[in-house]
C-alpha cells in the first residue's frame, strides 16, 4: 500500500514566498493518517515575526480539528494559498506511522 506525505509550511508573506516547515501529515488511501507538528515555535517566531505566530499556530493546529480524509488533505494541498500551506503530496512505500515519525 503506497503512502503519501505533505509538509505543513508557514508562509508569512505569500509575495516573497519564503517558507518554513512546521509539520508533516502522512496518509494512505485506506484512511490511515498520522501527523507531527513542531512543539517549539521559537524558530517560527524569528522567521515570521512574533505578531504572526499565534494566528499561524492556531491555523496549523486547526487542520486537525477537521475530519481529515485523504481527499480532504489532497484538497488542502491545492487550495490553501495563504500563510499556512501544504506541499504537493510525495510518494512513499513506508507505512504511515513511520513516515510521520
Amino acid at each position: 500500500m503506497p503512502s503519501y506525505y505533505t509538509i505543513i509550511q508557514v508562509v508569512p508573506d505569500p509575495l516573497t514566498d519564503e517558507r518554513i516547515n512546521v509539520g508533516v501529515i502522512a496518509f494512505d488511501d485506506d484512511g490511515h493518517i498520522e501527523h507531527r507538528v513542531l512543539n517549539n515555535w521559537n524558530r517560527v517566531k524569528a522567521f515570521a515575526g512574533a505578531a504572526n505566530v499565534n494566528p499561524v499556530t492556531t491555523s496549523v493546529h486547526g487542520i486537525f480539528d477537521e475530519a481529515l480524509t485523504p481527499d480532504v488533505i489532497r484538497s488542502m494541498t491545492t487550495e490553501w494559498r495563504h500563510s499556512v500551506q501544504l506541499t504537493t503530496p510525495r510518494g512513499s512505500l513506508a507505512n504511515v506511522k513511520s513516515l510521520a515519525a
Binding site: P2, Y4, Y5, R90, G91, S92, L93, A94, L99
Partner: protein, 229 residues
C-alpha cells in the same frame, strides 16, 4: 538498500533525487533514465570516482547502490523519469550548495580536503566548476558530483585515450591545499593495486548496460594515471 520515500529532486542534467531508504538514511540518487542514454556512462563515473575519492580520504559522502522499486516510481510523479533498479547513491549532506565556490580556505578541515580533492581531480581528470560547500556553520567542502570526471558523460574508450596526462585540473584547489594531506592522498593512490581498482569497477552494475570494453578502458585509464600521477 531500498528506496522507500521520495524527498526532493534537483534541476540539473542528471536530475538527482533525494530518497529515504529502508535503513532510515537519505541518499542522493542518480539512476538510469530512458530519455537520457548517456546517464549509464555518467553513473559509472559517479560510482567509481566517488569510491576512489573515499580511498584517498577525500570528503566524499558514503557511496552506495540504491534499489529504486518500480512501485515507488509508480506512486511518485517526480521520479517518473527514472528507471527502476539499482542506481548510484551518495549520502545526503544537508545544507550544501555548489554556488558558494572555493572558500573557507583557512579551515584545517577544508585545506586537507582541498589537498585530497586536488589529487582525486588529477587522478580522474576532473572538470570541477565549483566544489560543494556546506552552507551552514563551518562551511565544510564536500565532493558529491563526479559525472564530469574523465571527460564527462559521453566518455568512450577512445575519448579516455585522448585525455591529457595528469595535471592540476583545478589549480585553485592546489593553492589552498594542505601539503601533508596532498602527499598522503598521493600515497593512497599509489597503494591502489590493479585488483583493488578492478574491485571498484566491480561496483558498476551489469544492468546499467555499459559495455565491458568501456569498463576495461576506464580501469586502464585510471591505472595509467595512478602510475604517472
Amino acid at each position: 538498500m531500498t528506496a522507500e520515500t521520495f524527498v526532493r529532486n534537483w534541476a540539473s542534467y542528471s536530475t538527482p533525487v533525494a530518497l529515504r531508504c529502508d535503513d532510515g538514511e537519505t541518499y542522493v540518487v542518480k539512476g538510469l533514465q530512458p530519455a537520457k542514454p548517456a546517464m549509464a556512462h555518467a553513473i559509472v563515473l559517479e560510482q567509481v570516482l566517488a569510491r576512489l575519492g573515499r580511498i584517498v580520504g577525500a570528503p566524499v559522502p558514503e557511496v552506495v547502490l540504491v534499489d529504486v522499486p518500480q512501485a515507488l516510481i509508480d506512486v511518485e510523479p517526480e521520479i517518473a523519469f527514472m528507471s527502476a533498479g539499482l542506481a548510484h547513491g551518495l549520502g545526503l549532506v544537508d545544507n550544501c550548495s555548489d554556488k558558494i565556490g572555493i572558500e573557507a580556505v583557512t579551515s584545517d578541515r577544508n585545506r586537507q580536503a582541498y589537498g585530497r580533492l586536488a589529487v582525486l581531480d588529477g587522478w580522474g581528470h576532473a572538470w570541477r566548476p565549483a566544489a560543494d560547500q556546506d552552507a551552514g556553520r563551518g562551511r565544510g567542502v564536500w565532493s558529491v558530483d563526479h559525472g564530469l570526471f574523465a571527460g564527462g558523460k559521453n566518455w568512450t574508450a577512445a575519448s579516455l585515450a585522448g585525455l591529457p596526462s595528469p595535471a592540476a585540473p583545478f589549480p585553485d584547489l592546489f593553492a589552498h591545499a594542505d601539503q601533508d594531506a596532498l602527499d598522503d592522498a598521493l600515497l593512497k593512490v599509489h597503494a591502489v593495486t590493479d585488483d583493488a581498482l578492478a574491485g571498484v569497477i566491480g561496483w558498476v552494475r551489469p544492468s546499467w548496460g555499459v559495455p565491458t570494453e568501456d569498463l576495461v578502458a576506464l580501469a586502464k585509464f585510471l591505472a595509467g594515471r595512478r602510475d604517472t600521477l
